[in-house]
């Protein structure tokens, strides 16, 4: 079968980092081809080269055997390839409709017919079953809604080649299912796709062949059938890696985190939650169930309309993050780019902000003590970085997420709240992060895990399921995926 897309011997450097080092990929006509690799393996960099956003330092890109168009010729690129980038390309100040049809609001050069555009956008959203108002400002959408808009846009171009870079990292189960249904029907129409994900089971579900990158190089390309799960992981990590086994434990008696009668607007109402030392409590729910808002309230990022939060025996002022942290709380926020890290500051500094006061006297932060602490965190979380002085902006997504984890764990918290902890994180890192949560709990902390990923919830001793802003069920360990999803969707109570 002939190659629809091919990249040969691509080299791309960013300053001292080599993101791609003689990497290659060949995708046959009509297949859905997975690209997997650990965080920082160079997947997104290849995407930007395949979509003409960046010029490779060496190597070439071919479409159906022909050399790729010049970088300046954006129209030619857009005819050849559509893409859902890992980084959001939604423009918050514009409406959903305009975002969907950015730079193609009209076909000709005449004035834009907004009414028609709205209708077209509405149809498009309906086709892809995205439940958002075409006229809403994109900035008002939730993270997952934005992702859906982005996907709908990429799929709507009618391009013969579509790249999806971690489209499911922010989606819940039903949305993922809808996306896959769509992808299958596109494949039936002969569309070629490249699919990037850290959810390896998705690779087996939707892709025909898979390419593995490791350390900026091409490792292997095979059909999925020829590359069982273990071998795939081994190819990614360069070593045999066992699947994650969640540990069992007995929670203590002491309640370390509790929320009582919490309510906030139309997000959640009258919620009680309590977490004991040595216990992991999961918070599950479908989109807009209010679970994230609740978790953000527990850590002080949001102020509830009513109710109280008690951390480690101290009643903290609502909406006061520093107070909660001082009481012994550490947390990982939902969106690392938004609240997780300061991109220009170093890994060391980002990781140690909560303990800055402990790194020196009289308000002074000792750089050497900071570096020492940071190196310890880098080691314990296995963060792939040049060192504590590298800006977080230069790290790959998964490694940046580990820095956010480092920040949450650096003060040995008694309470750990993590929201979508493994979003966009590779298999091995995922294990490391979940392991870090469990380690903290074994040291006596209580933890709350908020996640759309059932795998994350596996480590929980019990899972609270939210539906329309209320806790509808408390499920102890031992649930099956099907049971949990049914409760989340409100099908069964």
């Amino acid at each position: 079968m002939k190659n629809h897309v091919e990249a040969r011997n691509v080299v791309k450097r960013f300053g001292p980092t080599t993101a791609l080092n003689g990497a290659e990929i060949a995708i046959s006509e009509g297949e859905t081809h997975a690209l997997v690799g650990r965080n920082g393996a160079g997947k997104s960099t290849l995407v930007s080269i395949l979509t003409g956003l960046q010029r490779p330092d060496e190597g070439e890109v071919l479409f159906s055997g022909e050399t790729a168009p010049a970088l300046a010729d954006r129209d030619a690129w857009r005819q050849r390839v559509a893409c859902v980038y890992q980084k959001s390309t939604i423009i918050p100040a514009l409406t959903v409709a305009e975002n969907l049809f950015l730079n193609r609001q009209t076909t000709g050069s005449g004035p834009i017919n907004w009414r028609a555009l709205r209708v077209r956008a509405g149809e498009l959203l309906e086709t892809y079953e995205v439940d958002v108002d075409a006229q809403a400002l994109a900035g008002d959408l939730s993270v997952e809604q934005r992702q859906l808009v982005e996907i709908a846009r990429a799929l709507s171009f009618g391009a013969r080649f579509i790249i999806l870079d971690e489209p499911t990292a922010r989606l819940d189960g039903p949305a993922i299912e809808r996306l896959f249904a769509r992808m299958r029907s596109l494949r039936e129409q002969g569309v070629t796709m490249m699919y990037i994900s850290h959810h390896l089971d998705e690779v087996y579900e939707i892709c025909q062949s898979v390419t593995v990158f490791r350390d900026a190089r091409h490792i292997v390309t095979k059909t999925v059938a020829d590359l069982p799960h273990d071998e795939l992981v081994a190819a990614m990590t360069g070593e045999a890696t066992a699947a994650y086994e969640s540990r069992s434990r007995t929670p203590g008696d002491q309640v370390v985190l509790s929320g009582a009668r919490l309510s906030l607007g139309d997000r959640y109402a009258d919620v009680d939650i309590s977490v004991k030392s040595g216990e992991v409590v999961g918070l599950a729910g479908s989109a807009s169930s209010g679970k994230v808002s609740l978790a953000e309230t527990l850590v002080g990022l949001r102020k509830p309309d009513s109710g109280t939060v008690t951390v480690n025996g101290t009643r903290v002022r609502p909406g006061d993050v520093p107070a909660a942290m001082r009481a012994g709380l550490g947390f990982v926020p939902e969106d690392r780019h938004h609240e997780g890290f300061v991109p220009l500051l170093s890994v060391g500094e980002n990781a140690t902000f909560p303990i800055a006061r402990k790194l020196g006297r009289y308000g002074v932060v000792s750089p050497s003590r900071r570096r020492a602490k940071a190196e310890q965190m880098i080691k314990s979380l296995d963060i792939k970085t040049e060192g504590p002085d590298q800006p977080v902006a230069d790290l790959s997504g998964g490694n940046a997420q580990k820095v956010v984890f480092a920040r949450a764990l650096v003060d040995d918290p008694t309470v750990l709240v993590v929201i979508n902890p493994t979003a966009g994180v590779d298999v091995k890192a995922k294990q490391a992060l979940l392991g870090a949560v469990e380690d903290a709990v074994e040291r006596g902390a209580g933890a709350v895990v908020v996640s759309d990923e059932l795998a994350d919830l596996r480590i929980c001793d019990r899972v609270l399921v939210m539906f329309h802003g209320r806790v509808v069920k408390d499920m102890p360990r031992g649930w099956t995926d099907h049971e949990l999803v049914a409760v989340m969707e409100g099908i069964e109570d």
Binding site: T51, L53, A72, R74, D75, W77, R78, C83, Y85, K87, S88, T89, I90, I91, P92, A93, L94, T95, E98, L102, N103, R104, Q105, T106, S109, P111, I112, W114, R118, D131, D133, A134, Q135, A136, L137
Partner: protein, 326 residues
Amino acid sequence: MTAPAPRVRLARFRDLTLVPVIVLLLVVGAFLDPTFLTAGNLTNVLQQQAAISLLVLAEAMILIAGKFDLSLESTVGTAPAIAVMLVVPVSAGGFGIGLPGTLVIPLALLVGAAIGAFNGFLIIRFQLSAFIVTLAMLIIVHGFLQGPTEGKTLFQLPDSILYLGSAMWLGLPAAIWISAALFAVGIFGLGYLRLGRALYAIGGNAEAARAAGIRVDRVLYGVFILGGTLAALAGILETGRLGAIGNNQGVGWIFMVFAAAVIGGVSMDGGKGTILGALTGVLVIGLVQNILTLIGVSGFWQPVIYGAIILIALMISRIAGGKAQD
């Protein structure tokens, strides 16, 4: 899900948060001085704001595209002055090149466009900070007025450059028609043309705009060049209104220009705001100035009242707009 209708109305409405302020100013003005609400006085306000409003138009576009241009104010004096000096004889302060007088307007526009292009070159090509580049250019461009004229006012101007700023068309000053027409084009262009929408995309997220196939650099060059050209046109209108090109023409305008754009809802961070909003900002500033002149507030305290009114307008536009400003 919310019905779409109310949201549209609200979004539209957001451009017009200053309308109550304008109404209030009209009422207060009428109350304070009987002359205020006369056709003659309101025409004067419009005429006085015509030139500066073109700068606001230019700056609003540049801000929406996520950039910045302080040097526009210097172009207001320098562009027409250089054009005039290319045309008039040495005895009238010219360079002695003696190009035909009919060329003076195109020449002025060309000088403005060239200044804009140079700004664009430095900012886009060299990726320098737009604020500081155009700050330096503000100084340099003004120097190109001061240097050749040696600080003197140019009094002997060709008639053609005086015409637009002083003529009356259909009973109203031509300057009002011109700036109204350009605002109409601006409102339409940024509201309904793909190129205009591209400014919002670039200002909102330049990477995303590039990914969507917008030729970001080219559009930005265009915006800077258009900005410089509009500033030159503002200079031509002002020259006609004042009958001479003084060394201070345009100096100090830029602050008012920013104030008008921002209270009119244009964000300093790019990607937000409309030309209609900017227009309401210009009107507020113009009305405030007019009222202060009419009631004759002491010159010493005038700035305090003036600044306070800008702050109040800012708050109203913030509260009515409902979003944090940047």
